[in-house]
Symmetry: C2
Subunit: 679 residues, 2 copies
C-alpha cells in the first residue's frame, strides 16, 4: 500500500520498484550528507537499513504524512534509535517535512536529535535510544489494535546486536502469547556491532530457530533486494495467529565502499570529512558514480550550507544565553590561564591498564568497550584478553556475571553509558551486588549532558540518586582525568561494591598527580590570582587540613563541574572581589560531611553544582547541613544542575552553556545568592 | 559424588537411592513444619523441588558441610530464592547446621530469612529473591572455574515462571557463547505460578526447543523420580562444549494432598494451621501415613516449640528496644484511641474497581496481580478481563507494553513489589515512559520494611530516590487505605507518568472520605487530645489554609509513617507537653514546598519520617528548606528512616519497631532534637 490520503483513503503517491531503488540511493546520499554535516552519527547501521526503510515509508506502509496522527495508520517503532538519520530521511522523503532539513542532524533545537524524539518531529511513533524497548512498545500498540478492532499493522525495527537484550526476549514471548499477527519485527542483521562481529561479541545465532521456538513466523530476506523486501512485507501480512519476524540479511555500511562491513563505522561520520578516501564525496561517487548523479557537488554544497547557516544561528543564540563579564573567562580564551583538555574517561583507562597487573582484576564489556576505555585493560597486553568477558548488549547479565566472578575472588569491572550501567541493571546491582556485598566495580561512563549530540537518552543525569541510597555502595565522582585515575585506583582497593562516574568529552585538567587525594576526604580549592596556567591559579588542600579564610561563599561541586566552579571562583573574585571556597568532594559516598559542615558554619552560603538532575547531589548536601549544623546558625543555599528535565542533542559545550552549567552561569547564580543576603 | 571431607577428599556420608527417597520425605516434613511455624512461606514450590534438592545435597554434589568455603566444592545457586525453606532443610540435613533449626523460618534474626541471605547462614552461595538473577551469577562462577582451571561444577535452580524474565535469556545466551559445560540449569517445571497456570499467565513452551535454539543440551526428567534425577545429573556431567539444562517435570505441592497442583498454595502456609483438612498434621499423614512415621506428634510438637521459644525471646528483645512512657500508646492498647487497621493496598483495589468504569483504563499483571489488588479491577466484572493483560514475570516488558497502550490512548496501570516495578524496569520507565511522557500509571506496591517476613529482597526502600529525579514523573505516597484510594484517583486523572506507593500489611486508618485531600497540597495534622477514636483526636486542614499555632516542632511524614507521626504527636503532648505540627505531603512530587517552608519559618525544628532509605525523602525536604527559607532564619532537622541498610525478615510490626520507625522511637528522636536546642 502506498502513501494515502487519510481523509479519502485514496493513493497520494506511489512508486515502482525501480523508482524505489532510485529513492533508496537518494536516501543514502541524504543520510551521508547529514552524518557528514553533524560530524557524528551512525553511518554503518543507517546504510544497512536504508532499503527496508525505503520499502516501508514509500511503498508498504499505510500512512499520510499530512495527518501524522491518523489513527488508522500503520506504526513503525525504531527500537534501534541510533538509526535515526535514516528515519528522518525516510520521513522527509515521504513528505513529513522537507527532506533536506535532515542535514541539521544532531544540532541543538533542530529536532533531528541523535536519537529520535517523538515530541520534536512528526511521524516519529516513539522516542527511543536505549536498546531493547521498542518491541514491547510495539506489542502494546498491537494489543490495543486487537482490543479496539483496529486494522493498522505494527512494525518494529531492531538491530541484531540488540537481540542480546533480555527485554527483547520478554517482548518476543509476550507477542506470541497474545497471537499478535498484526505485529512484524524486522531485524537488521548486518552482523556487526560496536565491539566487533556479533558472533564474537555474543553470538545470537541460530536466530531463526530462536524466534521459531518462541512461536514466531520467520521470514528471511536479502535486506538490500527491494523486490524481495516488498514480498517479505507482503507475505508477513498473510501470516495468521502469530507474529512474524523478518530477518533481513544486510551489509553494514552498504553502498559506501569504505564503510561496508567495517566495524569502526558504527557511530562515526566519514573520517576524511568532505573530501578524501573516506569522505562524503567518495560516498556520493560510490552511490551515483562519478559526477554524483542526483547529487552533484553544487547540490551537496547547498544542502551542507543549510546546516552551516543553522549552526551559526544556534551559536549566536547559545552565546546570548551566557552571562557576560568585563573580560572573556572562557577556557583558553586569553593568553594566560591555560588548561589542557582531556576526557575523564582517559583517566579510567590509564588506571585500568595498571590495575590489570593484578591477576584478580577482570573486565566485562557491554559493546561499548573501546569508547569507555575499558579496552585499555588489554589493548597493550593481549594476554589479558582472557580476563575480558564480552557480554554483549546485556547489562543485566553483565552485572550478575560480574557478581559471580567477584564471588569467586575476582575483582570485576563493568561499565557502559551511565544510564545503562546503573539504571538498566538497577535491581541486579541492588540485590545481587549490594545485598550480597560482592566486590563489583562499576564504570559509570558518559555521565551528564556533556555526552553531547547523542542526546537525552544517552545522557545520564540520575545515577547518583539511583546509587547513593543503596547500602554497601561507594561512589566516586572525580573532577578531571587525573583524578579519575586516582578514583579508579581508590575504588579498586575497596572491598565491596563501588562506582566511579566520569564523562565522555574533553574537560579541563585542573589537578596534578601530586594534588591531594584521599578517598572519603573532600578537597578545598582556593583561587589565588591569575597565572600563566589555570592549574597554578589555585591552591588545593585536603578538607581536614583547611583553615577558615572567612570566604564570602562556598561552592560544592562534583565531577566536571569542579573546573567550572573553579573558573566561577575566578570570575567572582576578578569581577566582584568575592572570595569563594570551592569544595570538591570527589567521594560522594561516603560523603565528607565534616568539610561540608565546616563550610556551612564558617560561611553559611552554599551553592551546589552537579551535572545531574538538580538535588541528586545537592539535596544530600542540604541534608548533611540540615542535620549536622549547629543549632542557631543560619545558612542559605542554591543548587545548580539540570532542573527536572531531560538532556538534549547538541555540542557538549553548547549544552553546558544552555543548561546553565558553565562558570559564567554559576558565577551569576552565586552573585544572586550573595545579594539575597543570608548567614 | 556424596558428601566429602574437604581435607582428605574421602567420603563422609553416602546414601542409597532408597535412603534418599526416605530423606526426601523427611525434608518434606521439615519443610512443612517450618512453613507452618512461620505462618507464611512457599509451600507449593518447595515441595516441587524437594526431590531434586535431596539428590543434589545428599548425593550428587561434591561438598563438605564442615568447610563451606572449600574452593573445590560444587556450587548451587538458588535463583528462585522463595524456595529458601527447602534450601535450609537440605543444608541442615547435609550437616551445615541442625536441621530442626529451620523451624525458625522467617523469624527475626534467625538467619532463616524469607529469602536466602548468604551472610547469615553457611552453605548459601548467594543471597537471592529477585527472580532472574541466579543464572548470571552461575555463569560468572562457571567462567571463573574455566579461567582458573577449577574442576567444580555449577548448578542453578530456576522456576518455570522465572523463564519469563528476559535476564534469564541473557544469561542463557552468554552461557552457550562461553561453552560452559561446567554449568547445569535446573528448571522446576511445576506449571503453576502465582497468577495461575504458567501457560495462561505467559506461555513459556516449547521450553526445550528454546534452550536448544539457544545452544544448550536439554535433559528432561521426572522431578520426583530419585533414580531418574540422579541419572540426569550424571548425564549432564558427560555433556561437553555446552551448558545443560535439566527440565524437571514436577508437581507443585507434591506429596501434600491439598496443595498438589493448587495455584493458591504458592506463597502460603497450610490454611488450617496445625490441625484440620489443610493442616500440618494432614501433611505429615500424607507423607508418612497415619501415625506420622518418622514424625510422630511428639516430635512435631517438640520442633514447633523450638520456634515458639525462639519467638518469645525475639519478642522480648524487640520490646526492650522500644522506648517506654508513662502509659502504653501502642495501637489499640487501651480502651480509647481506637483505630481500624486496613492495608493501604485495599484502597488501591477499591479505586481501581471504580476506575474500571472508564473503558480507557487497562491493567497489566506481573504475576502478583491478586496480592497487590490489581485483580480488583476485574474481580466483580468478568467482562473487564479483556482489558487485563497478563505479562508474566517480565516487568521490563510490562512497562513498555503499557507505554504502547498509553500511546494509543489507553490509561494503563502496571504494578508489582516496589523493588521490581521501579528498579527492575528503571530504564524502561525513564526512556520509554518518562522521556516519551506516556500516560502510564505505576502501582508501587509492598513498599517498606512492613512487607515483613519476605525479607530484604522484597522490601522496597529506594523507590522515591529512583522516581523523584525522573522528569515528568509524579508521585503519591498516601498515609492509609482511604487516602490510597484518593491518591489512585488523583494519579489516574493526570496526563502523563505517575506513581502511587503503598504497603502490604494492615496499617491504621487515620483519614476519612471527608478528610481534606488535594493533589499537590500537603495536609497539616494537629493533635487535640485523647478521644474514643484515634481519628477524632486530630484536626486536619490543607496546608495552604493552616494558621501558625507556634508549635514546638514539626514532623513531615509520608505513607504509613503518618499514623506513627500522629501517635508520636500524641505521646509528645501527653508526656512532655510539646505541640507538634504533623505534615502529610501525600504528593511527594510535585512537593508542596510552601507548606514545608512555612513550617520551617514558623517552627524551625523539622523531623522527617519515611519508611524508606533515610534521606530519599528527607534530603528533598532539606533541599526545599535550604533553598527556599528566608535568609537569617535558623533551623535544625533530623531524619528518621532506614539508615543505609537493607531490610530484614520478621513480622511487620517487629520490623517497624526494630528499625526505629514506631511512634515511640519517633517521639524519642523528637525529644532529643528539642533538647539540642535549635531555631
Amino acid at each position: 500500500m502506498p502513501i494515502l490520503d487519510a481523509k479519502t483513503g485514496k493513493v497520494k503517491k506511489d512508486y515502482t520498484v525501480e523508482e524505489l531503488i532510485e529513492k533508496a540511493k537518494e536516501m543514502r546520499a541524504l543520510d551521508m550528507i547529514a552524518v557528514t554535516a553533524s560530524k557524528s552519527g551512525h553511518t554503518g547501521g543507517t546504510l544497512s537499513i536504508v532499503d527496508v526503510a525505503t520499502a516501508l515509508y514509500l511503498k508498504h506502509l499505510r500512512h499520510d504524512p499530512a495527518t501524522p496522527d491518523w489513527d488508522e495508520r500503520d506504526r513503525v517503532f525504531w527500537s534501534t534509535g541510533h538509526k535515526a538519520p535514516v528515519l528522518y530521511v525516510a520521513l522527509g522523503m515521504a513528505g513529513y517535512f522537507p527532506a533536506e532539513e535532515t542535514v541539521k542532524l544532531r544540532k541543538l533545537w533542530s529536532g533531528f536529535e541523535g536519537h529520535p524524539n517523538r515530541l520534536k518531529l512528526p511521524g516519529i511513533e516513539a522516542s527511543s535510544g536505549s536498546l531493547g524497548q521498542g518491541l514491547g512498545l510495539a506489542v502494546g500498540s498491537a494489543l490495543r489494535a486487537k482490543l479496539d478492532g483496529k486494522g493498522y499493522r505494527v512494525y518494529c525495527i531492531m538491530g541484531d546486536g540488540e537481540q542480546q537484550e533480555g527485554s527483547v526476549w520478554e517482548a518476543i514471548m509476550s507477542a506470541s502469547h497474545y497471537n499478535l499477527d498484526n505485529l512484524v519485527g524486522i531485524v537488521d542483521k548486518n552482523g556487526l556491532q560496536i565491539d566487533g562481529k556479533t558472533r564474537d561479541v555474543l553470538n545470537i545465532e541460530p536466530l531463526a530457530d530462536k524466534y521459531t521456538a518462541f512461536g514466531w513466523q520467520v521470514i528471511r530476506v536479502d535486506g538490500h533486494d527491494m523486490k524481495a523486501i516488498l514480498k517479505a512485507l507482503g507475505d508477513a501480512e498473510k501470516v495468521k495467529g502469530k507474529p512474524t519476524v523478518i530477518l533481513a540479511d544486510t551489509v553494514k555500511g552498504k553502498g559506501v565502499s569504505y564503510a561496508e562491513n567495517v566495524v569502526g563505522y558504527h557511530g562515526i561520520a566519514p573520517k576524511d570529512g568532505r573530501c578524501g578516501n573516506e569522505s562524503l564525496d567518495r560516498a556520493i561517487t560510490d552511490i551515483y558514480g562519478a559526477g554524483g548523479g542526483a547529487f552533484p557537488k553544487e547540490k551537496v554544497n547547498r544542502i551542507l550550507s543549510i546546516a552551516d547557516n543553522y549552526q551559526k544561528e544556534v551559536t549566536q543564540k547559545v552565546d546570548a544565553m551566557v552571562p557576560k563579564f568585563s573580560r572573556n573567562y572562557w577556557w583558553n580564551a586569553e593568553g594566560d590561564m591555560k588548561v589542557k583538555m582531556d576526557p575523564t574517561r582517559m583517566g579510567f583507562g590509564r588506571a585500568l591498564e595498571k590495575l590489570g597487573e593484578d591477576e584478580r582484576v577482570v573486565t566485562l564489556g557491554a559493546d561499548i568497550t573501546g569508547s569507555i576505555r575499558m579496552a585499555d585493560f588489554y589493548a597493550k597486553f593481549p594476554e589479558r584478553k582472557r580476563r575480558f568477558f564480552s557480554c554483549g548488549i546485556a547489562e543485566q547479565n553483565m552485572t550478575t556475571v560480574a557478581a559471580g566472578l567477584a564471588k569467586e575472588g575476582k575483582i570485576p569491572f563493568i561499565g557502559s553509558y551511565g544510564v545503562f550501567i546503573t539504571g538498566r541493571n538497577w535491581d541486579q546491582i541492588r540485590t545481587t551486588v549490594c545485598y550480597n556485598n560482592y566486590n563489583v566495580k562499576i564504570a559509570d561512563a558518559h555521565g551528564g549532558v556533556s555526552v553531547g549530540p547523542d542526546g537525552a537518552t544517552h545522557q545520564a543525569l540520575e545515577e547518583l540518586a539511583l546509587m547513593y541510597y543503596l547500602p554497601n555502595m561507594r561512589i566516586e565522582v572525580p573532577c578531571d582525568s587525573v583524578e579519575t585515575e586516582k578514583s579508579t585506583f581508590a575504588i579498586a582497593k575497596l572491598d565491596g561494591p563501588a562506582l566511579v562516574r566520569f564523562g565522555r568529552e574533553g574537560t579541563s585538567v585542573v589537578t596534578r598527580e601530586s594534588s591531594p587525594f584521599t578517598f572519603g576526604v573532600a578537597n578545598v580549592i582556593r583561587y589565588r590570582g591569575r597565572r600563566q596556567d589555570f592549574i597554578d591559579a589555585f591552591e588545593t588542600v585536603l578538607g581536614d587540613a583547611y583553615r577558615n579564610e572567612k570566604e564570602d561563599l562556598c561552592i560544592v561541586a562534583i565531577g566536571a563541574m569542579v573546573p567550572e566552579a573553579m573558573r566561577a571562583a575566578c570570575i567572582l573574585k576578578e569581577e566582584y572581589g568575592l572570595e569563594t571556597r570551592v569544595i570538591n568532594p570527589h567521594t560522594v559516598k561516603p560523603l565528607d560531611t565534616r568539610t561540608i559542615l565546616q563550610a556551612a558554619e564558617d560561611i553559611g552560603r552554599i551553592v551546589t553544582v552537579e551535572e545531574h538532575q538538580t538535588g541528586g547531589f545537592g539535596n544530600v548536601v542540604a541534608g548533611v547541613i540540615g542535620r549536622g549544623k549547629k543549632p542557631g546558625s543560619a545558612f542559605i543555599m542554591d543548587m545548580i544542575g539540570v532542573d527536572d528535565r531531560f538532556g538534549d542533542s547538541g555540542e557538549p559545550w553548547e549544552l553546558t552553556k544552555v543548561f546553565g552549567l558553565s562558570a559564567e552561569s554559576i558565577a551569576e547564580r552565586c552573585r544572586k545568592l550573595m545579594s539575597s543576603g543570608g548567614k
